[in-house]
Each structure stands twice: as structure tokens, then as C-alpha cells.
């Protein structure tokens, strides 16, 4: 096979079929979306800095909360993990590229189109969607001109995710190096395999749900309209049947990343690799039977409440197993604390806190008080920000030298870490108290007893936002540091560390011996 280098100019990116280029595009896109969504968060937090309405009208505030969530979930977190998957999975399994490189190109390029459509709704009459990312009817049917564009952009995002997931499954199942049987695969690959199946199972259900909203609005159906014999609650069931696996889609790759990084910097193998695989699979399976814990106040009969409470509590078990295994990896290792390790350790601490509030939310009587309050906001931001987002940061710092061939600025990285870690707690920890004290979510103004913690959260949010500029600095100066070796770190495991840094445009054009992948370096 002739080795032509990358194409020149815009053609390289527009027509990209190389998994490294596509991975890069996903990551750049995700970073841009992270800043866009983050700006919206700052609009929200600015308004909530003190009681009284200072900056935006309530309608616009609701648009901000809705768009912030849609952008962060579908534009920042998910594409970032897909970008990491694209870059790393082929190298980790010794494959030359993804199984379906041309579909890979479409998977990516659909996203800027989808988000341009979504963002354009801000300028339409009636403004952007403002019914929450959960889009409950009948409220969502009061959306203005933006409504069909919302539905269309969600369809596009779903299509992108589904195609990406198909690509990942086919790559992992068909293109591994010989001798790399499934249980030998690195955890990042395993968690992505499971995540990809979840994606194919539930993104189409979301597509179905929003299509039903569309037909109710425009084509005379009554899926969710009581007047025509429909049921608004059915939407909630269908949405959360997608929605709950969706949050595991956002965290499982994070588990995979952390399971790569902690062993490297502990200089010790991952504790309980097989148990980790089974635990992740358990979590994925259980994620299908807990959806109604998002709906405990909807008027559910007792038997339903009991079932979903028990099932939800069950998920804590395999999740706990994973946390214990990470600690078991650290235990009696010889740790150093480079930036990827810092983010990974913070992940274990802070995701666990998010997990605890999750267990609390599972308890139905208590959930009656927590539901739709800031307690829930605190919970999911803990698992998503110091959870998923920190794992993404950790992964980027970990693999950046492999991508660029240079060591990033470690001092700046550590600064980014400490600033992010401190401010993320300042932002979201007070929200637990706000929820317990009775502050509902999705409100632009609040009673005066909530003022102090809201001010704290806003200061934290501003600090967190500014801290991300340090990350931007690290990325922009990524190639200025010392040249990186193949191995980059002292004792990483995995095939990606057997290729040069920066990784050549085409790697593993002939399959390697997988034996190398799982042996520790001396």
C-alpha cells in the first residue's frame, strides 16, 4: 500500500478518513462547544448571582438552561469521548484505522451542521427552545419557530452518534490484532464497546420520541396530547428510557480513561481487570431498568416506585466495585502525580460524591423532597463535570504527547487542575444545600434565603470558566515543550505506547503481536 501523507489544506479535513484526523476534529469541535455551553452557564450563573432579575428575561433564561444542557451533553461531552475513541481505539487494538472510514467522516461532519441549526434557533422568533433539554410536552409544544429545528438537529446528532457507535463496534470486534482476545483489551476499549451498544440501543428511541413530538405538533397525532387520547407522561417514560442509559453513555468511557491512567501512574496493573469488565457490563444492563427514577413525583403507583427504587440502588453496587478497584490499583503502588493522574484521582473522589447523592436520590421518600430541586443539579453536575469532563481532561493530558510528539507544559497543566478542582467544588457543592433548603431548579430568581450559596456558586463558576483558559493555553503551546519519547510516561501499558510520538499518520498497517500490549515495560 503506497504511503501518501495527509492531503493538503482544507481537503485534508473536509474529506478526512484518517481516524487520527477525525479524532482531532471531534476534539476541537467539542472544545469549542464546551466554551459555548460554558458561556451559557455563565449567563445563567450571572443572573443567579443575587436575588432579583438583573440581566436577562425569564424566557431567555429558560433558553439558556435548555441550550446549555443540549450543547454540553450532545456537543461537548459525547463528541469528546468519540474523538478520544477515534484517536485511541485503533491504536490500542493494533488496527490500521476504524472499520468504516468514510462513514466516520460523515459521523463527524454532521455535528457542525446540527449545532449550527440548533444555535440558529437563538435568533428565531420565539427564541431557542426553552422547555429544558428534557423537552416535556405539552410545554415543548409551546416552543416557537425553533421547534422543528430542534427536532431536526436532535435527529442529526443521533445519526452521528449511531454511525459513530456502529463504527466503533465493528472496529473493536473485527479488527483487533491477533492474540488480542476480548478480555485482553484495555479498559478504555471495553468501556467504549459497551457504550457503543448502549448508543445504538437508545439513540433511536430518542429519535422516536422527538418524532412523536413532531407529529403531535404538525401532523395531527396525539401521542402525548390528552385531548386526543394521548398521555404526556408517556413522553417522560420514552425520553428517560433513552435518558438514563444516556448518562451511562457519558460516564462509561470516563471509567475507561481513568482505568488506563491510574495503573500507569501507580506503576501497578489495574486491580481486578475482569471484575471491572463485568461491573461495566452490569451497569450497562441495569441502566435499562431504572428510567422512572427520574419521574417519582409523576403519580406512579407504589409497586412502580418500589421496583425503580430497588433497581436504582442496585446500580450502586457495580459502581462501587469499580471505585474499590481503582483504590486497589493505587494501594501499594508507587504513585507520581502528573496532571493526568491528578485529574483521574479527582475523578475518583468527586465522582464518588456524585454517586453518593445519586444513592440519596434513589430513596423515594427523600426524593420527593430532592426531585426538581438544586440537589439534583448538584448531583448530575458532580458526576458530569468532575466526572466526565475531568476524565476528558485527564485523557487529553495523558495522550497529548502521543498526538503532538511534545510534552505539554506540566506546570500549566497542574495549575489548570488545581484551579478547576477548587472552583468546581465551590460551584457545585453549595447546590446540595440549596436543594435541601427548598430551591427549585430552572428558576431565574429566588427567595433571599438562598442568596449566599448562590453567590458562592456563581463565583465558583466564574473561576472555573476562567481556569479553562489555562487549558486553552496548554493546548495552544502543546508543541513547544520537550520532545516526547515513544513511551512518554514511565510505565504505561498498551499498544499505543509502542508507536513513535507523534504517532505516524498511519499506524499498525501490519498487525502487531498483541503480547506486547499487555506486558509491562521494564
Amino acid at each position: 500500500m503506497a504511503d501518501h501523507g495527509p492531503a493538503r489544506g482544507i481537503r485534508r479535513w473536509l474529506y478526512a478518513t484518517n481516524h487520527k484526523d477525525i479524532g482531532t476534529m471531534y476534539l476541537v469541535f467539542s472544545l469549542i462547544m464546551f466554551f459555548v455551553g460554558g458561556t451559557m452557564a455563565l449567563v445563567i450563573r450571572s443572573e443567579l448571582m443575587s436575588p432579583g432579575l438583573q440581566f436577562v428575561h425569564p424566557e431567555f433564561f429558560n433558553q439558556m438552561t435548555t441550550m446549555h444542557a443540549l450543547i454540553m451533553v450532545f456537543g461537548a461531552v459525547m463528541p469528546a469521548f468519540v474523538g478520544l475513541a477515534n484517536w485511541m481505539i485503533p491504536m490500542m487494538i493494533g488496527a490500521p484505522d476504524m472499520a468504516l472510514p468514510r462513514m466516520n467522516n460523515w459521523s463527524f461532519w454532521i455535528l457542525p451542521v446540527a449545532f449550527s441549526i440548533l444555535m440558529s434557533t437563538l435568533l428565531m422568533p420565539g427564541g431557542a427552545p426553552a422547555s429544558g433539554w428534557t423537552m416535556y410536552p405539552p410545554l415543548v409544544l409551546q416552543t416557537g419557530d425553533a421547534f422543528p429545528f430542534l427536532i431536526f438537529s436532535i435527529h442529526l446528532m443521533g445519526l452521528s452518534s449511531i454511525m459513530g457507535a456502529i463504527n466503533i463496534i465493528v472496529t473493536i470486534l473485527n479488527m483487533r490484532a491477533p492474540d488480542m482476545w476480548l478480555l485482553k483489551m484495555p479498559m478504555f476499549v471495553w468501556t467504549w464497546l459497551i457504550t457503543a451498544y448502549l448508543l445504538i440501543a437508545v439513540m433511536p428511541v430518542l429519535a422516536g420520541a422527538v418524532t412523536m413530538l413532531l407529529t403531535d405538533q404538525f401532523f395531527g397525532t396525539s401521542f402525548f396530547l390528552a385531548a386526543g387520547g394521548g398521555d404526556p407522561v408517556m413522553f417522560q417514560h420514552i425520553f428517560w428510557f433513552f435518558g438514563h442509559p444516556e448518562v451511562y453513555i457519558m460516564i462509561l468511557p470516563a471509567f475507561g480513561v481513568v482505568s488506563e491512567i491510574i495503573p500507569t501512574f501507580s506503576r501497578k496493573p489495574l486491580f481486578g481487570h475482569d471484575a471491572m469488565v463485568y461491573a461495566a457490563s452490569c451497569i450497562a444492563f441495569l441502566s435499562f431498568i431504572v428510567w422512572a427514577h427520574h419521574m417519582f413525583t409523576v403519580g406512579m403507583p407504589l409497586s412502580g416506585q418500589l421496583f425503580f427504587m430497588f433497581a436504582t440502588m442496585l446500580i450502586a453496587i457495580p459502581t462501587g466495585v469499580k471505585i474499590f478497584n481503582w483504590v486497589g490499583t493505587m494501594w501499594r503502588g508507587a504513585m507520581t502525580f502528573e496532571t493526568p493522574m491528578l485529574f483521574s484521582l479527582a475523578f475518583v473522589f468527586l465522582f464518588t460524591i456524585g454517586g453518593f447523592s445519586g444513592v440519596m436520590l434513589a430513596m423515594v421518600p427523600a426524593d420527593i423532597q430532592y426531585h426538581d430541586s438544586y440537589f439534583v443539579v448538584a448531583h448530575f453536575h458532580y458526576v458530569l463535570v468532575p466526572g466526565s469532563v475531568f476524565a476528558i481532561f485527564a485523557a487529553v493530558y495523558y495522550w497529548l504527547p502521543k498526538w503532538t510528539g511534545h510534552m505539554y507544559n506540566e506546570t500549566a497543566g497542574k495549575l489548570h487542575f488545581w484551579a478547576s478542582a477548587i472552583f468546581v467544588n465551590l460551584t457545585f457543592f453549595p447546590m446540595h444545600f440549596l436543594g435541601l433548603a427548598g430551591m427549585p431548579r430552572r428558576i431565574p430568581d429566588y427567595s433571599t434565603q438562598f442568596a449566599d450559596f448562590n453567590a458562592m456558586a456563581t463565583i465558583g463558576a466564574i473561576g472555573f470558566g476562567v481556569s479553562q483558559l489555562i487549558f486553552l493555553y496548554v493546548l495552544l503551546t502543546a508543541k513547544k515543550g520537550a520532545e516526547a519519547t515513544d513511551r512518554v510516561w514511565e510505565a504505561p501499558r498498551g499498544l499505543e505506547w509502542t508507536v513513535p510520538s507523534p504517532a505516524p499518520y498511519h499506524t499498525f498497517e501490519t498487525p502487531p503481536k498483541a503480547r506486547i500490549a499487555t506486558e509491562a515495560f521494564e
Binding site: G208, T221, D231
Partner: protein, 181 residues
């Protein structure tokens, strides 16, 4: 695997996964709604009572009384007045009862309305049988017309003994499209 075998495997696995995705869309769009309805019907969850006439079988249980409360709501400021003739009744399970609801089209145009019933508590849903109900179909009203809308029902004697009050709520909707799924 050599390249050709890999590509064939890739294609066949891709096709299967595309079918899986399509199947899940079909599941979400075509299976879940009817499944939801069947589940609601079998379990009585969601408080949906029968929307077609039930059979009238009287076997009165005079040893027990149940209080039936009627609640009416007009949806979204539709121009109707809609009230029960009585707020509540005390009934014996197994015996047939009649209740009337008064509806008036308050506007100067002809309109069609549709009542949607809902029952609480959930455990009573399957045991509240409507023999004849104005909610089984929509009603056409001339401008300013007032009508008495009839309800004929039996509370099944199998009603769990811990239920002493049943609330039947009707929400009256302007019926723009009466498409029953």
C-alpha cells in the same frame, strides 16, 4: 484476518448493527406507545378508565359504601362551563348509578368538545366501570348551547377494601382533532 475477509465481516456486522438501530427506532416509535397503552390497561396504572362501554352486571354489595367524588376541569381556557350536577355520591359496589354533568358552550360559535377521564387512586382504576359515558365520544355544541351529559357506572365489588374514596376527574378539551391512536 486478511483484508478481504475483514471487509466482508465489517460489512455484515455493519448491516446487522444498522438493522439493530432501525429496530430500536421501530421499537421506540411503533412498539412502545401501544405497549404503554396495554400496560396501562392491564395494570390500571395511570388512572385510565375504560373508554368504551363496559358490560352492566349488577351484584350489589350493600355491606359496603364507597364515596365517589367528581372533579371537572376545562382545559386551557376553552370556552365551556363544565360542572358535575353533584360533587360526590355515596355508592354500593356492584350497583348501577347515574350521574350527570352540565356543559355549556360559552362562545358564539359552534364547537366540539371531548372529555378525558382520569381516576384516582390507581388501584381503583380497573374497578370503576363506565357503562355509558359522554366521554366515549366527542360532543358537538351549537353556540351557547347547554347540555346535560350522562354517566352510568358500576363500582366493581372486587374493589380493594382499603379504597374508600374514588375520584373521577374529567378534563374537557376543545376538540380540534379527535384522533384516537
Amino acid at each position: 484476518m486478511d483484508t478481504e475477509t475483514t471487509q466482508l465481516s465489517n460489512r455484515s456486522l455493519t448491516v446487522r448493527l444498522v438493522l439493530f438501530a432501525t429496530g430500536m427506532f421501530a421499537f421506540g416509535f411503533l412498539v412502545l406507545p401501544p405497549l404503554y397503552d396495554v400496560f396501562c390497561e392491564i395494570t390500571g396504572f395511570g388512572g385510565r378508565t375504560n373508554t368504551t362501554a363496559a358490560l352492566a352486571e349488577e351484584s350489589p354489595d350493600l355491606s359496603r359504601t364507597v364515596r365517589i367524588e367528581f372533579v371537572t376541569t376545562v382545559n386551557n381556557f376553552a370556552p365551556w362551563q363544565f360542572e358535575p350536577a353533584v360533587d360526590s355520591m355515596t355508592v354500593h359496589p356492584g350497583q348501577m348509578y347515574y350521574a350527570a354533568f352540565n356543559a355549556t358552550n360559552l362562545s358564539a360559535e359552534d364547537r366540539t368538545g371531548q372529555a378525558v377521564p382520569s381516576i384516582s387512586p390507581v388501584s381503583a382504576t380497573e374497578h370503576f366501570r363506565k357503562i355509558e359515558c359522554f366521554c366515549f365520544s366527542s360532543q358537538e355544541f351549537a353556540a351557547n348551547e347547554q347540555r346535560a351529559l350522562p354517566l352510568q357506572f358500576i363500582v366493581d365489588p372486587n374493589l380493594p377494601e382499603y379504597v374508600d374514596t374514588i375520584t373521577l376527574s374529567y378534563t374537557y378539551f376543545e376538540s380540534k382533532h379527535v384522533t384516537r391512536r
